[in-house]
Amino acid sequence: MTQIGETRRELALDCFLLAGRIMMESGAETYRVEDTMIRMAVSQNMVNSHCFVTPTGIMFSPSEELATRFVRINNRSTDLERVALVNSVSRKLVAGEYTVQQAYDELLIIDQTNYRFNIWLQILAASVASGCFLILLGGSWIDLPFAFVFGGIGFIIVETILEETRVKIFAEFIGSFVVGILASIAVYSGFATDLDTLIIGSIMPLVPGLLITNAVRDLMAGHFVSGLSKGAEAFLTAFAIGAGIAVVLSF
């Protein structure tokens, strides 16, 4: 009897940690991850549980007798569909619609499936966003096709380098550097008119909007470790983009 209880508890622990890891890897806020894990634990009669989430690892202590568990978070990207899916699984577990086994199976499926849009559609979206921002920031319609193409090229470069090397700062630096060179060529050869708005529009898809929002919300919720480290990541990204452009402009 105790054996069965033990394995069931182990399964529940695996389930919470998997949910936390998927959410953290997909770009959820730290306090939301903690909230979700504690809610799931309370629904499984683990009332005295504690968890501590940072952007690089999750610690979870179910109660005073059971051992504390730890998972490492290696790569973080942005995939909000997964956050929403894990959120609905945890809601169903808390409401009693799922058993722990069902929830765990569902989470495993979420972990292994690729929910991303087709890569070409993402590139098209980056191009469209660049074009829109060019006009919104007061650029001229003559520059529109250039912003459209350069925004897409910048996005492709960042994604490819990220896949090859996993060094985010380098990818963003090279991406904005190439965008700056292309924009300068277009302006100095006389095809495009305004260098400033063209560059700003084209690098808009690389701006770390998610990180900034998350950092502010985490700091507000009192999670200073995660808030500061996410803020540092946002600052590094912004610095890499700025340095890439600055290298081009200094010639």
Partner: protein, 155 residues
């Protein structure tokens, strides 16, 4: 200023950011609407008061409130709706100008642009904070009222 054009473009841009961040497909249109409302409020404030710090505060505040309401409606995390709306308010052009002036050795002008960019990012952050606190108070009161009603009916 061409209102319908700006509304359409900001809607399209926020929707495109939704695709890049892979938001759930049935929320893409809502994401676009959040981005559009944030940008239009920002522009209106900017035209009336001619101060981009206040305008950014108002834009971020509205984005955050709308995102909270949509999150309640769709039963999804609020962050799905707010990100696409926040991005247009990020002071990209100020930061760019600061960088360009540093490269051209105009350090005084660079400091002016950089401090303006810092003020705007602070205003965006404060807009998020204010909306968050307001919505928390509102939802807490609403939950209490519902609980009281349920308590009355049970007794």
């Amino acid at each position: 200023m061409n209102w319908p054009l700006e509304a359409f473009l900001s809607f399209l841009a926020a929707g495109a950011f939704g695709v890049i961040f892979n938001t759930p497909r049935r929320t893409l249109i809502s994401c676009g609407l959040v981005g559009m409302s944030g940008w239009l409020i920002y522009r209106t404030f900017f035209l009336v008061f001619e101060d981009s710090v206040q305008a950014s505060f108002a834009g971020a505040f509205v984005v955050s409130i709308v995102a909270h309401l949509l999150a309640k409606k769709f039963r999804m995390p609020m962050i799905i709706f707010s990100i696409a709306g926040i991005i247009p308010l990020v002071p990209g052009s100020k930061a760019y100008n600061a960088m360009r002036n540093i490269v051209e050795h105009n350090y005084l002008e660079a400091i002016a642009f950089a401090s303006e960019a810092l003020m705007i990012s602070g205003a965006v952050a404060m807009g998020l904070v204010f909306a968050e606190v307001l919505m928390q108070l509102f939802f807490k009161r609403q939950a209490k009222r519902i609980q009281r009603k349920m308590g009355l009916t049970q007794e």
